[in-house]
Amino acid sequence: MVVSSDLIIQVMIWGLYAGCIYILLATGLNLIFGVMKIVNFAHGELLMLGAYITFTFYAVSGFNPYVLLAASLPILILIGVIIERTCFRPILGTGKLNEIFISIGLIYIIQNAAAMIWSDEWRTIHSPFEHITLKIFGVNLPLDYLIIVITTISILIILFLFMQRTRLGKAMRATSQNRKGAMLMGINVERMDMLAFGIGAGLAGAAGTLWVVSGQVFNPYMGSIPAVKAFAIVIIGGLGSIPGAIIGGLIYGIAENFAILTLGGAWKDAISFIILILVLIVRPTGIFGESAE
C-alpha cells in the first residue's frame, strides 16, 4: 500500500475527530476524579443519555441537532448533580469499594432505565449537513467533523476560562489540589463535588450529542466502549489532569487510526494499550499526572 502525505493527513484528521469525543468524555472523568477522587465507571452511560436526549428533542422539535447541545448539556449537568447528591455523597470517604460498586450499579440502572424509556433498538439521526464535504488542502473533510472539532475546542476553552478566571473554578481547582486545605480556607467542598460531577456529566452529555450528529448509531448499551477508551486516555494523560486528557485523547485517537492503517483493524485497541503501558513504564503517573495527594 502506498502511504502518501495526503493519506497521512487524512488519517490524522480522522484521529483528531475521534479524539474530540474521547477528550470530552475523558475531561469530564478527570474533573470528577480530580475533585472527588472517585472513578465513575458509569461515565459512558452519561454519554448514552446525552445521545438519547438529543435524539428525543430532535424527534420532537426537528431542531438542528447541534442546537440541541443547549438541551443535552444542562440536562446532563442536572442528572450529574442528582447522581452526586443521591448516590456518591452518602458514601464518599467510606471506602473505595463502595464507590466502585455504586458506579458499577449505576451502569445497570441507567442502561435498564434507558431501555425501558427508549427501547433497546439501535437508533440514528441524520445531521442536516451530512451531505456537505469540504476539500481542504486535498483532504476530504465532512462539515460535520469540522463543526465537531470547533465545538469541542469551544467547550474546552469555556471550561478553561471557567476554571482559571472564576471564583468557582478556582475553588474547584483548590479542592482538587488539597481538599483539607480548601476546607480550611472556607471552600464548601461538597458544593465543589456537586459542581464537578455536574460539569463532568455535562461534558459527557455534549460528547453524546456530538456522537449522534456524526452519524453514529446508539442504543442503551453503547456507552461501555467509549468509556473504556476514556479511562485509557485518563491514565495516559494523568489522573486528574485536564490538559492530560486533551493530549491523551489526541494521542489515542491518532495512534489507533495509524494502527489500523499500518497493522490492520484488529490492532486498533492493542496499539492504544501498548502506548498506555509504555507511558506507565516511563511515567507511572501519566504524562501530566502528579503524585497522589
Binding site: M1, V2, W14, T124, N219, G265
Partner: protein, 436 residues
Amino acid sequence: MKRTLGILFIVFISLVLIAGCTEEKPPGEELKIGVVASMTGSASTTGKDIWQSAELAADEINADGGVYVADLGKKVPIRLVQGDDESTREGGQKAVSRMITQDNVDILVGGFSSAVVSAHQQIVAEHKVPYIITGASTPIITRRTDVDTTYMFHHAPTCDDSGSQIILFLDDTVRPAINSQYNFSADRPLRLAILYQDSPYGKGHQTAIKNTITNSSLNIEIVAEEAFKMGESDYRTVLTSIKNTDPDVIYVTAFLNEQIPIETQAMRDIGLNKIFTAVEPNDDPDFYKGVGTYGDYSIVQSRFSPYTVPKGPTEAAYNKFVTDFDKKYGGFPGMMGVATYEGVYIAAKAVEDAGTLNKTAVRDALATIRMPQMVENMQDQTISFSPDCRESKFELTMEQLYWDESAKETRPKIVWPEGLKETSFVLPEWYEPGQD
C-alpha cells in the same frame, strides 16, 4: 370488616392455588417446549421476537387441538416455558439448566448468539434434550467435537451458507455487469475487498468466501482483507486502506450497528463509490432507517425481509405470519422470530413423527424429518436436517436497495436468484469500478 377482608383473602388465595393447579398438566399430558430467548439484556429486542413468535406458533397449534402423540392416543397441547438467557453466556446456562432440570421440558427451541448458545450446549448434551437452534449462525454450533451435539439441530443459515451464496451472486451477476458496462474483458476477475468483524462470525464468513472461490473456481480476486473490532464505530481509516486497493465490491460482515456507519462513512467521508454487500441480519427496518441515502444501490442479503416478499410458494405463509404477528404484538417479528416460529412447528412435527415424548425418539425423528417449507424459502422447498451436521438449508435472496422518496428511505427489490428475482441488478451512475 375484618371478617369480610379475611374471607376475601381466603377466596383470593384459593383462586390463585386453583389457577396454579390447573395451569400445569401432569407429565405426558402436554408437550413442554423450552424457549431459549434473550428477554433481558442487550439482545432483548430479538429475544422478544423469538418468544412472541414461539407463542404465536404454539397458539396456532393448540387452537388446532394440539400435537398428536400416538403413544397416548390423543392430541396434547403445547406449553411453552420461557428461558431468559439475559443475553449472556451465564444467563443462558442458568436458564437452560432450570428448564431441563426443574421444568422438565421435552424439547428446546431458540437460542440467540453463537457465543451464548455454545456456552450452554454442554448442559443440553449431558441431559440429551433435543434442541432446535434458531438464532445462532456459526456452523461450529453443530460441528464442534468437544461437546456431543447429536441432539442439536441448526435451523438458521450458517456463515458458510450465507457467505457462499453472496459470492455466487457476485460471480454470476455483479462481475459480468461491471465487465460489460465498462468494456472490460469478459474474463476480468472481480476485485473483492472483505471487511469483517473480528469474531467467529466474521471469520466464518471470511473462510466461507475463500472456500467458495476456491471450490467453485470462481473468477474473483481478493484485493483486501480488513478486520474491525466488534461494536466499532469509527471505520474511516480501515476504509481508506480498502480504497487504496481499488476494489470493485466491498463484502462487509457486520451487524447493523456496524454496517450503518461503515456504509455512511465509506460514501460520505472516504468517497468510496463502490457496491457494498451486507449479510442477512441487516435486513431490518432499523438498517433502512439508519443508512438513509447511503444505502442506495447497495446489496443486502435476505431470508425474511421487512419490505419485500419473495413471490412463490411461501408468499401466503409470509403474509399470514407477518399479519398475525402484527395483530397480536404489533411490529415486525424479525428473522430470528420467524425461524423460532418454524422451530415450534418442527418440534411439533418431530413429536408427531416419533409418536412419543421420549427424547431419544424425538431426536431420531428430527434427524429424519422432512416437512414442507413454511415462511422462509428452503432448498428443495423442504425443511430437513443434513445427516452430517444437522443443518437445514435455506434459499437466501439478494436484494438491491433503491431510494424511495415517499418513504424517505431505501427499499429493497430481490435481484437474485433468478427464480425469485423482481428486477435486475444495476450499477449506479456514480459507481467507480476498480482498475482494469
